[in-house]
């Protein structure tokens, strides 16, 4: 039984990453209608920026949590301005293919220069060590990841669903022409939203840098699972993606305990089941 508690907690930790990443995807899809396949590559860039900040600029983890999302977010906004904005109104497939291509290029460039085994990034001193919870030894850093990403997820949800800015955003996706008539600069808002979604991916990258290797393919390995999370949660649903992210982390954790061989397929099995029963995802509304 004790082992089970431990597995639940570990699942929650992985769920934090799923939640943060699928949240960014849901924001981008919900507001821009773009299936952002570059999300994994941008997550990877977040981790690399943290690595560079530390090793080239001597800027520590805490500042990286702030700067890496901003830097990668700006990169994302440039992408949106120069490329993605021309796809407005076209079929989803175009956005998907374009972002997929961008992801391949970004990954290829990083792999060319940094190889595939990755670079080490140390856990910050303040978060080292762990505590004994009785049923398991919890590394402090992992506990921090769960709490921090929960806070970020809820803050993002609040921003979009409960504030005036969020209301503008949601209105702009419904009817951009009308919102523009009220004097709101819709294209700029869209760009900033993409930047926000990308920033969330980069933030997840910084968070994962000390746990995983900073590797060019770290995003590619994760992105497919995260897409499954978004599909299960319902495309574009903010709360749906947060809850599904954490829940799937836990389910995956339990699979690792009961039948480890299936741990990297269980998410997709669930996805198939959900799509069979409720094609719009758990919280999605019919289009």
């Amino acid at each position: 039984m004790q082992a089970l508690y431990a597995q639940l907690l570990v699942g929650l930790i992985n769920g934090s990453f799923y939640a943060l990443l699928s949240l960014g995807l849901a924001v981008i899809f919900g507001m821009l209608n773009i299936i952002n396949f570059a999300h994994g590559a941008l997550y990877m860039m977040g981790a690399f920026v943290a690595y560079f900040l530390l090793n080239l600029g001597g800027i520590n983890y805490w500042w990286a949590l702030l700067f890496a999302p901003i830097i990668v977010g700006i990169f994302g906004m440039i992408l949106e301005r120069t490329m993605l904005q021309w796809l407005t109104g076209l079929d989803h497939l175009y956005g998907l293919l374009l972002t997929f291509g961008i992801a391949l290029i970004v990954q290829g460039v990083f792999q060319n220069y940094f190889g595939s085994s990755g670079l080490p990034y140390a856990i910050p001193d303040q978060l080292r060590g762990g505590m004994n919870l009785g049923f398991m030894f919890l590394p402090i850093y992992r506990g921090w990841v769960v709490i921090f990403s929960l806070v970020v997820c809820i803050a993002t949800w609040f921003l979009i669903e409960k504030t005036r800015l969020g209301a503008y955003l949601r209105a702009a996706t419904e009817n951009p022409t009308l919102v523009r008539a009220f004097g709101v600069n819709v294209p700029r808002m869209i760009t900033l939203t993409y930047g926000l979604g990308v920033g969330l991916a980069a933030l997840a990258g910084v968070l994962s840098a000390p746990i995983n290797q900073v590797r060019p393919l770290m995003g590619a390995d994760l992105i497919i699972v995260v897409f499954a999370v978004v599909v299960i949660g319902g495309m574009g649903s903010i709360m749906g993606s947060i809850i599904t992210g954490f829940a799937l982390g836990v389910i995956e954790g339990l699979t690792k305990y009961f039948y480890p061989e299936a741990s990297n397929t269980v998410v997709f099995v669930l996805m198939v089941l959900v799509l069979l029963v409720k094609p719009t995802g758990l919280t999605g509304r019919a289009a």
């Binding site: 992985n14 190889g115 590394p139």
Partner: protein
Amino acid sequence: MKTRSIASLLLTTALTFALAGVASAQDKTVKIGALSDQSGLYADLGGPGSTLAAQMAVEDSGLAAKGWKIDIISGDHQNKPDIGTAIARQWFDVDKVDIIVDVPNSGVALAVNNVIKEKNGVYINSGAATSDLTNAQCSPNTVHWTYDTYMLAHTTGQALVKAGGDTWFFLTADYAFGAALERDTTAVITANGGKVVGGVKHPLNTPDFSSFLLQAQASKAKIIGLANAGGDTTNSIKQAAEFGIVKGGQKLAALLLFLTDVKAIGLETAQGLNFTETFYWDMNDQTRAFSKRFAEKMKSNAPPTMVQAGVYAGVRHYLKTLEALGGNPHDGVKVVEKMKSIPTEDDLFGKGEIQPNGRTIHSAYLFEVKKPSESKGPWDFYKLVGTVPGDQAFTPLSESKCALLRK
């Protein structure tokens, strides 16, 4: 009249055959295919570096100046046996490749082994670990260089059991390699009076090991054996440190660890790990000189791993054999037979031999990862702890299950 024409016919036929014979003996074209994981979790330990190693072997052989024409092509098997065999077939059927080298990932390596046997090519495997390549699945076309699971089990594994690590828990990569390494290590553990108390099979390329590590922790085994490789091993080791596994008194056995893995983990976390390799760039003047030349040509400036060194040594020996044959007969069995009859000797592995089952025998070295304070350069990672002579490190012929030995 009739007899004369028959005689002349016979004469011309004989002449044609004789000429053809001369032509094939003097055929000095060779095509080498470097098949590897070019972009995945094993790309740094083999990958583009292995292709470079093969190129350097061709250059260093000096055969170009003697009129030989040697080409190298490379392919990415993406760690998928079906892709690996498809490339191998295309190389033999369309590109007329003579020899395939490297091929990390035991699953792919065993699949490719069958294709090469069928096509009568030459196979010098350096990247894969499974000892089956020279045991149950041995082939007259195959030479296995560098290392294998039997060697890893009988060096690192044995040393740990003898030092008191008598209970084991395995984290095993769920494919041919992990299974072979666990099997060979388990044999050593039980033979030395130890016991395996449990294990987990994890999918290849797992980013998060915390669930598995918690199970290993709960097992209370003295040794946690990592029967995995590349990115899986580095992630296991890093995350084990996070969960306080080594501090809790359990010891990690990195059964297979490469130079690039140590770089990825960082000395801070990797220090003190014991493991076995058959090549390290900083062994002697020759290895240092080669590694310097190699690193200058690598984009990452990394010195060669033992897998890449094995590709170099293997291709050198292959070309030496072709030179001794006076030409390329394009006959895999014949070339490999000749390769086995010539003792191996090169700057990287020293003197050795290829056994009748295809296993190359050379010394293996027990290393320990240095403390950060002991490291003097960017790739100065290892301390030599012991040397195991080749005949003790690799499967003795009496134990080998290879059918070639019973001819």
